[in-house]
Symmetry: C2
Subunit: 563 residues, 2 copies
């Protein structure tokens, strides 16, 4: 979604420019996108081939590819860091919207968990070192180094708008994004294979093992004395599968931050960072809420954790207990999703009375956020619609089917209304920026900068000193002077809503990411579509659904700060 409104205000006057303006920015981007698409497709081919037992592509091939990609991307990152340290002039502007502190904080947190996972993986493969290919130990070690280098790089440079070696930087960034997406794909595939394995174990019917089982293959190639029998090895194996969700989120967070950097390559900004500040004052962190939202959200969070534990314990037992676990799980999620839907809806209603101006400034971070929220929701939408068709057409008339239908419908409603609320929140101007009865200030503001930009470059259009203020604070002061204070209850309500939705999304993320799979425990869809088709649908769509939750969390933090 590209803004059609004048994007002038954030462009800088030419006097501040580091180098000549690019002739054709899209051409440079095209090259790097072509590189990324091709590398990603090669990775995708090998990873998907490696997931199937019948296909003669082995996991060592995938590990070798990923290791090579991480080494290359790591080298490029080091080169970038060296270059920007040596010539600070190459980064003349920094995008204040990019890489906010909570995103970087989340990245560090997930990065640390990924490092622990790498330790576990190294330990696991070291347990039977003599029977394994060396690449299986080299891979987690390389990944650990890559994660450290990349996290430092994103912490330092996430806001950069670099202006030298444009094409090289774009290609490097795109290659690093590709590396992260390839790691994500490999992790998702490995987890799906693991899930399929444990499902076929619990059902012990061989006809259902459609997806190739990596573990089985590993067991057969390892053979005899090389199998993972020691207690330490078992712990390592269990541990690294439980840490996969963090690795997955790390890769996705890193990809989004790298993408914003890629959009910012060669971008011209006004040096005065116009726009809302992203650092909330820690003193007033909870003072401006009614406390109802966060308290209710935390209660749901705790109940959700209890439900998760009950579910995990009961679902693998005999049929009656499993049914009970499913009923508890569905009841909880239905209540949770229902409340979230109502709360998001009331947030949208509040905005109907809110008279803050819409923020039309160009903001790659926000555009990406909106696209990801809408795109990632598709995954859960698809699963829900397949469930609805299975229940409605298959017409099973029992409690579980009814709960399943309600769950699917509420999931669609909740994601839709939450997306509408978040996207509308992200597009509101900073607090206190109510529009004046006279027309909005944007064009005037844009005018000043566009003039500066245009008049300097064009000898045929001499500058008009009256319009071109030498200091850009002028029009901002003018805007500031007409600001009216906003009614505080609206603001408090919006903050409460954000703080309620936040823990709810976290608990839904934890439930999906750490292995509740009602999709398979519940037999409605498996019977209707057959195991292989339903497993393909869930395994392709669910990773997007899980990513949606975590991305909604990071967006809700932003909504809370902006409200």
């Amino acid at each position: 979604m590209s803004d059609e409104l004048p994007t002038g205000p954030k462009e800088s006057p030419p006097a501040l420019r580091a180098g000549p303006r690019e002739v054709w920015k899209k051409g440079g981007r095209l090259l790097s996108v072509l590189l990324a698409v091709n590398v990603l497709l090669i990775a995708c081919t090998l990873i998907s081939g490696g997931a199937f037992n019948k296909v003669a592509v082995y996991d060592t091939d995938v590990f070798a590819l990923l290791t090579a990609m991480m080494l290359l991307a790591g080298l490029w990152i080091l080169f970038y860091l060296l270059r920007t340290v040596r010539s600070p002039d190459s980064v003349p502007y920094r995008d204040s919207h990019a890489g906010p502190i909570w995103l970087r904080g989340g990245l560090v947190l997930f990065g640390i968990c990924t490092l622990v996972m790498d330790v576990f993986k190294t330990g696991y493969y070291s347990s039977f070192f003599e029977c394994q290919s060396a690449i299986k130990i080299l891979h987690p070690l390389t990944q650990a180094v890559f994660v450290i280098v990349q996290t430092y790089f994103l912490w330092v440079s996430a806001k950069d708008c670099i202006h030298t070696h444009l094409d090289l930087t774009r290609c490097g960034l795109m290659f690093t994004i590709t590396t992260n997406l390839a790691i994500w794909m490999a992790a998702v595939v490995d987890e799906s294979v693991h899930q399929a394995h444990s499902y076929s174990d619990s059902n012990s019917s061989t006809s259902h093992t459609r997806l190739a089982l990596d573990l089985e293959r590993a067991g057969s190639t390892v053979g005899g004395d090389c199998s993972c029998n020691t207690a330490v090895c078992q712990i390592f194996q269990q541990g690294y599968f439980y840490l996969y969700p963090f690795n997955i989120e790390y890769s996705l967070f890193a990809s989004t931050m790298l993408y914003v950097m890629w959009k910012n390559v060669g971008r011209l900004l006004a040096s005065s960072t116009h726009g809302h500040s992203h650092t909330p004052s820690s003193v007033s962190l909870f003072r401006e809420t009614f406390f109802a939202g966060p308290v209710l959200g935390l209660m749901l969070f705790v109940v959700g954790l209890a439900v998760l534990i009950i579910y995990e314990v009961q679902v693998s037992e005999e049929r009656g207990r499993a049914q009970q676990a499913l009923v508890i799980y569905y009841s909880f999620t239905i209540v949770c999703l229902g409340l979230m839907t109502l709360v998001s809806l009331s947030g949208s209603v509040i905005y109907r009375f809110d008279r803050r101006a819409m923020d039309h400034h160009k903001n790659p971070t926000r555009t990406l956020d909106v696209a990801l929220l809408m795109g990632a929701a598709l995954g859960q939408y698809a699963i829900s619609y397949y469930s609805i068709v299975a229940v409605v057409v298959g017409t099973p008339r029992d409690l579980l089917a009814a709960l399943n239908l309600a769950h699917a419908l509420l999931m669609i409603a909740q994601q839709t209304f939450q997306n509408v609320f978040i996207i509308e929140s992200l597009h509101r101007g900073p607090p206190g920026a109510e529009p004046h009865p006279t027309p909005p200030k944007e064009p005037c503001h844009g005018l000043t900068f566009t003039n500066l930009d245009a008049l300097h470059t064009l000898p045929t259009c001499p500058p008009t000193p009256r319009l071109v203020g030498p200091n850009p604070a002028g029009p901002q002061e003018a805007v500031g002077s007409i600001v009216a204070p906003r009614s505080p209850w609206k603001r408090r309500c919006l903050k409460d809503i954000a703080l309620f939705l936040l823990p709810c999304n976290v608990i839904l993320w934890i439930m999906s990411a750490f292995g509740t799979r009602p999709h398979f425990s519940n037999t409605v869809e498996v019977d209707f579509y057959g195991y292989s088709l339903w497993a393909a649908i869930v395994n392709i769509c669910l990773p997007f659904g899980i990513f949606y939750r975590m991305h909604a969390v990071s967006s809700l933090v932003e909504v809370y700060v902006l409200s």
Copy 2:
């Protein structure tokens, strides 16, 4: 890819505006996108469910859904046409880039073929009317009416920038797009099922019939005296499968034109249609070329048709003849793709010496063209990479494997270089618009209009008469006066290149669309991935590959006109 440059020049001065400017355009778009996504997912669920034999969703369900959607979309179109006829003020601007004549011409052509297909389908289902559900005859009849109404609508209104009932119009357009995409999906799935059926017939091994066979089911439900045994019925059945490619292209062409209309809802344009005219003078249609391009292209086209006929005749015969047919097919495509790669590459080289300014104006049609070219290429890329992995890892060492590898590599190279050439061509300014040694005129041009826009709305910024020319032709005249004539050989070369690539893309489209499937005749990939996985890959990716060819043709026509 959104332009970051000032998009001012095409915005109109406020005096020309029909209504008040929308507060938040993205909000209105969001609603219609949400509607479209949900409807599309429901259709996708039913259509994919209907394709599998085991799933209890039947083709009558799919037909009923499609018929309902077409009726609704048709009613909305009639409502739109009535409204715009009654109040011509609601369409104050027309986008000169939208719906060029060759796109509308192509739409009419494909629409006529779709009507013929509908006649055949009605005839086929009428042959055993008593054993069929009525919806199977109702569906092609409704489709015929829908095609007529929609083609008329797009012929008349493709350029409209409507300014009343914004949200309703957006939702209506999105719903119509969704209807077309659902028709496309249903046609693609039906064709894939048909292909799988004929493949399993020729191989007559039951283990390969993974995809549900609609026809078998039809045969079994029809039973006894209701089967399609008469000669007329057979002709109808054969005929409508051969006409599917036109129906598929019709739906996609209509979708792209509707999408551009959707982007243009509520758009403000200068009433003087700035930009290059799209109507080529028919006198000079071929005069400005060297004739080498079109002649060589037509020769390849004719040879390709001969190869196609040989292939179709020989491939279903015994093993030796089939092998020979594959060698002929691969040899021809390798030569064709190799030549196309070289020619595209030389086109890009010519642009390195071309000093025309890049056209940075906002142009939804072009943005969509670029996105579709890049996106549709992914389909063929994916097939090629899977082929490459199968040949390289599977290591069969015979002539066919070598030809297959060369074919896959050249396919990637050809699509990449052709995309680069087309996208660069679309972004060049109109012929003769060479940049002056002084800085580009864009900002000055943008300045004038931005000023007009901003100054009128802002009482705090009084208009400066010196900058605000009352007639927008002023700055354009200034641009015109500094234009230098371009060397004609470059122009001729570019036209030649476009006219060479055009028939080549047409013949490659014909080959894929009318049923050459070397992917399955050649056993390398089927043996490596197994039939079900390989069929899934090809059946999902190939429709995009076929669409790519037709879309490249329409873009090349534009390149030819612009050069």
